[in-house]
């Protein structure tokens, strides 16, 4: 460590005094101004800097609270989204189930309707068949009646001509024998 010698210090003090004289420094005035500046600094520190610090702290805490709230809201949103997705999935499953049920019901109904239609068609066919049979039977009966009438008419005409007196006698005796029996 290199210490200045007293000669050097006297020389140095002279230099400072010389510089101060050169720049026009008035030591009492400078000290008074320094004291005034310190007082101003203290006043500013007490009445301006500390309230600003408090304000900044409050602001920081508010921001931290806001951030915490935002995190909370985000978590809530995530939960709601999850719930929404769950509800949607459930609704989807329910809808699917309903659709399946509706399809099954429609298929069942379709089968029943088909069976009914088939039964109705069979009934109609049976009725038509019966009506046809009736018509056929009626036609046959009419034909038989007509043939019978013609046969009887022709036979009556022919037999009336070919019966002899002996035949008449024989027929009368047949009736007489019925009375005897």
């Amino acid at each position: 460590m290199h210490l200045p010698s007293p000669q050097t210090a006297v020389e140095g003090g002279g230099q400072i005094a010389s510089i101060a004289r050169t720049f026009g420094v008035d030591w009492p005035h400078l000290v008074a101004q320094a004291i005034s500046f310190g007082i101003v600094c203290v006043v500013l520190y007490v009445f301006a800097y500390r309230p600003i610090l408090r304000l900044l702290e409050a602001r920081r805490q508010q921001i931290a609270g806001g951030l915490a709230n935002a995190e909370k809201i985000k978590a809530e949103l995530a939960r709601i989204e999850a719930e929404r997705l769950a509800v949607l999935a459930k609704a989807d499953a329910e809808g699917q189930r309903r659709i399946e049920e509706a399809r099954a019901a429609a298929a069942r109904l379709g089968t029943e309707q088909m069976q009914k239609a088939v039964a109705a068609a069979e009934r109609v066919l049976a009725l038509a068949h019966e009506a046809g049979e009736r018509d056929r039977a009626s036609l046959l009966a009419d034909g038989r009646n007509e043939i019978g009438r013609l046969v009887v008419q022709t036979t009556a005409a022919v037999v009336g001509k070919i019966l002899t007196a002996e035949d008449q006698q024989r027929l009368a005796e047949e009736t007489a024998s019925q009375l005897a029996g």
Binding site: T175, A176, A180
Partner: protein
């Protein structure tokens, strides 16, 4: 209702009075009919109606209507009369009639009994089968 039953009963009694030896006496029938018609008793008309019905049934029972397609020979008529009397009693009256529509054979009707041996009935039976 009771009047009707009473009238029927009275008609039956009057009818029995007219039967002599199993046969209806025509004279008695006339007499009864005349007397009932002349009486002014209540219900005499109903009695007369019932009596007429019973007499008609008796006549039907004792009358044989013999119908044939051609006229029957005397011998055959006698045979029919004899056999009918044997079956239905001696008080039977036989009436003979010709009906060419019968074609052949004989039909006899006594009351509700019918003996039908005619060709017409056989042909009708044949037509019925068709």
């Amino acid at each position: 209702m009771r009047t009707k039953t009473r009238a029927r009963r009275a008609a039956r009694q009057l009818y029995r009075l007219c039967v002599v030896n199993g046969a209806l006496d025509e004279g008695r029938v006339r007499q009864v009919a005349r007397r009932v018609a002349a009486s002014r008793r209540r219900g005499s008309l109903r009695i007369l109606e019932g009596f007429q019905r019973l007499v008609r049934l008796d006549i039907d029972r004792h009358t044989a209507r013999v119908e044939s397609a051609t006229p029957l020979a005397r011998l055959l008529r006698d045979t029919f009369t004899h056999r009918l009397e044997r079956r239905y009693g001696p008080h039977l009256t036989a009436s003979f009639r010709d009906d060419p529509a019968l074609i052949g054979g004989v039909r006899i009707r006594v009351g509700s009994d019918v003996y039908d041996g005619t060709i017409r009935s056989r042909l009708n039976s044949l037509a019925g089968r068709f």
